[in-house]
């Protein structure tokens, strides 16, 4: 991570319409990241627009929820205990100032809203012979739970109740609706733990010094609260879109000021920024009247690609995987194209005719021109689409033949066919790389497992002088492979929308090169993973080490140069998009 590269946007206090750019050197937070596309130093370092911060959900809860409560307890409200402070924060949407203000201004109301009683007596009891009024079971021996209000129900009912309440991320109150008391965070978890199957590994907790944070470490209510909190601030926080990834990225700094509403604003902001930045003559005044659709060079280095904590790169704007070299608007249009069935419709248009009566689609795959519609039994002529009866009994004497009309239809069909083929050409390649990427992931898992068992075997027998750093190259290879494929995949989307200019050939050559090295790398990986070579896989890995490393570098390089090619091409307007396709 480079420190000098990050740029902050700051509104000048005096002239609100002016932007001033200043570098930020006091980067205290070590998980701050910049847009990871490295741009050479001599270029305008504007390419790094915003600053992002990565979080795991756990870190987020620790920092924003638990530490906020601990801080309140240490500084402003030492008379309160942590449990109550968490409830107050939760009730007031995690705003510490609100808690302090309400605490001093309106103590009784705050306590009432939060459902914190003066005297606490929350108990989980073991009971013999209990009849629960909710589930109407007669128990011989059951745990029951009650808050200080004394509304006692069996633990099974409480557990199902908690589960249904957990989804909305708010404080959970006593089951009895006339009772406002809140079930504290720790207690909810205690009840969940009574029912949970997996016992937490004690070894895992062994090294953790029991602190406030570790006590709340696996709290499901806090996780659900975090989820709803984050979802309610969509412009500031974005979840990593990778499957099963629970990390998120926060947009830090005043950049966020412009992003209060939705993505379109973000877009507009981006493009407005670009225009002011790229053209020094525009006096740096934001001209709202200027239509955002004005034709101007696209700078894909401004695409806010971020990385979550675990190496998933995604575009903060689209909340979609890293789609470079495509700019966001192209991606959107591509996804839409692939999603809706417009191409199916195109195929039907290009290869079929509608029955003139019932409008059913008919594909003629041979035979004469006397057609009979399967659905409505209408008989017509395939050439002129008029009723067959007017043709008399003689075949191929279509009196109503109109050449110009026919030509127009055929031309239209031909165009449609070409456009369909063009789409299929690009889509096929796009899809192939996508599915190969999934295959690569699986292969990675397998090889990783095998390497792990191999390494542990080696260390057990004290045979090897290999260390983990020696096999790091394998991981790198896979990272490069998947990233290379991703870039390739999106380059076909890029290609689909690209106008046929001379520079396009350069782009295609670069693309071809990347394609080649990616396939070479993939081939070696496949060979290693082949079942036939099961016994010698480790041997194969070591044998191919050199090739793997050099191909890894080649792929990374190829990927970078493809993106750079697209970037400079677009900037200098030697590459252009045609969105009307």
């Amino acid at each position: 991570m480079s420190e000098e590269g990050s740029i902050d946007y700051d509104f000048d206090e005096d002239e609100a319409s002016d932007f001033s750019f200043e570098s930020d050197y006091d980067d205290q937070n070590d998980n701050m990241i910049d847009t990871p596309i490295e741009s050479p130093k001599d270029k305008t370092d504007i390419s790094k627009l915003a600053k992002f911060k990565k979080w795991t959900t756990k870190e987020f809860i620790n920092e924003n929820f638990i530490n906020a409560a601990v801080k309140l307890q240490n500084l402003q409200l030492p008379q309160c205990n942590l449990e109550d402070l968490l409830i107050m924060l939760h009730q007031l949407k995690w705003q510490s100032e609100e808690v302090i203000n309400n605490y001093y201004d309106n103590y009784d109301k705050l306590m009432n809203d939060c459902g914190i009683p003066k005297v606490k007596n929350n108990v989980i009891k073991e009971k013999l012979e209990y009849s629960c009024p909710i589930c109407c079971e007669e128990y011989d021996n059951i745990k029951t739970f009650q808050l200080s209000c004394g509304h006692e129900y069996c633990i099974n009912c409480y557990h199902s109740y908690l589960k249904t309440q957990l989804t909305n991320g708010q404080l959970i109150r006593c089951i009895d609706t006339s009772c406002n008391l809140t079930i504290p965070h720790l207690l909810t978890q205690e009840i969940f733990d009574l029912f949970s199957q997996d016992v937490r590994d004690p070894a895992q907790d062994f090294f953790e010094v029991p602190t406030a944070n570790s006590k709340y470490a696996h709290n499901m209510l806090l996780s659900s609260a975090a989820r709803s909190y984050i979802n309610s601030k969509k412009s500031k926080y974005k979840w990593c879109p990778a499957p099963d990834c629970e990390n998120l990225v926060e947009l830090v700094d005043n950049y966020a000021l412009h992003l209060d509403n939705d993505d379109d604003d973000f877009d507009e902001y981006l493009s407005d920024e670009e225009s002011t930045l790229l053209d020094p003559s525009t006096n740096n005044v934001k001209d709202k009247s200027k239509s955002p659709s004005v034709d101007r060079p696209i700078d894909i280095s401004l695409t806010p690609i971020v990385s979550c904590g675990t190496d998933h790169q995604f575009c903060y704007n689209c909340q979609y995987e890293n789609h470079l070299p495509c700019p966001c608007n192209i991606v959107r249009s591509w996804i839409k194209k692939c999603k809706d069935d417009s191409e199916t419709a195109n195929w039907i248009e290009a290869n079929t005719h509608n029955c003139p009566k019932c409008l059913n689609s008919i594909e003629k795959n041979g035979g004469c021109n006397h057609m009979t519609c399967r659905t409505c039994n209408y008989e017509f002529c395939w050439i002129c689409f008029k009723e067959w009866s007017i043709h008399g009994s003689q075949f191929f004497k279509c009196n109503n033949f109109d050449k110009s009309e026919k030509d127009a239809i055929e031309l239209n069909q031909k165009q449609k066919r070409v456009s369909l083929q063009r789409y299929l050409h690009y889509y096929k390649r796009f899809a192939v790389h996508e599915s190969s990427m999934k295959g690569d992931m699986k292969a990675l898992d397998k090889i990783n497992q095998r390497m792990e068992s191999f390494m542990s075997e080696q260390s057990k027998q004290n045979l090897s002088n290999l260390s983990w750093t020696d096999v790091q190259f394998l991981k790198d290879a896979f990272k490069a492979l998947t990233n290379g494929r991703k870039t390739l995949k999106w380059s076909y989307c890029f290609g689909f929308y690209m106008k046929e200019l001379i520079f396009a050939e350069v782009f295609e050559q670069t693309q071809e090169h990347l394609n080649r090295v990616v396939e070479d790398l993939s081939k070696i990986v496949e060979e290693i993973n082949d079942k036939k070579n099961n016994d010698r896989s480790t041997e194969l890995i070591m044998k191919n080490k050199k090739a793997l490393i050099s191909l890894t570098n080649a792929v990374t390089k190829g990927q970078q140069s493809l993106i750079q090619c697209a970037e400079s091409g677009l900037k200098e307007e030697r590459l252009k998009f045609d969105l009307s396709i």
């Binding site: 909710i134 109407c136 199902s160 249904t164 406002n180």
Partner: protein, 167 residues
């Protein structure tokens, strides 16, 4: 007989309770013994309202996870009322499943919870008949009529009552 689920046990218990000691103006019970999840009930129109003297039949359909989720109450035939959809389904806060109130305008004591019961639902419905809530109306036409032309609203309901009594 197959062992009973929690929902079945609870519904039987509520049925027993209602038979023993049902509040005035309310009769409710399962349609048949085969399906305890479908109830039929009769609600009396509260006095001093246009619904007075009417007896309104309705069905209660319970979810399999009752009492975690609330039942659906549907007047059959439908009843003209701001909080009853045109198909007869009743829309009041006590019948909303948990976690479906993003605006938080419903008070917690009015919402569904496993401690509510058929009896409480039907009592709420009676008070709903007496005091329509136009702010979160289910039937916009009825809302309008109630707000702008109370006389016509009352008239239409009285006619409905007469018709339902066969007069």
């Amino acid at each position: 007989m197959a062992p009973k689920s929690t929902a079945q046990k609870r519904l039987l218990k509520e049925y027993q309770q209602l038979c023993k000691d049902s509040p005035p103006g309310i009769i409710a019970g399962p349609v048949s013994e085969d399906d305890i999840f479908l109830w039929e009930c009769l609600v009396e129109g509260p006095p001093d309202t246009p619904y007075e003297n009417g007896v309104f039949p309705a069905t209660l359909t319970f979810p399999k996870d009752y009492p975690l989720g609330p039942p659906v109450l549907k007047f059959n035939p439908p009843l003209l009322h701001p909080n009853i959809y045109a198909d007869g389904t009743v829309c009041i806060s006590i019948l909303h499943p948990p976690g479906e109130d993003p605006n938080q305008y419903e008070r917690p004591e009015e919402r569904w919870s496993p401690v509510q019961s058929v009896e409480k639902i039907l009592l709420s419905v009676m008070s709903m008949l007496a005091e329509p809530n136009c702010e979160s109306g289910a039937n916009v036409d009825a809302c309008k009529l109630f707000r702008d032309n109370r006389q016509e609203y009352d008239n239409q309901i009285r006619q409905h009552v007469m018709k339902s009594l066969g007069l």
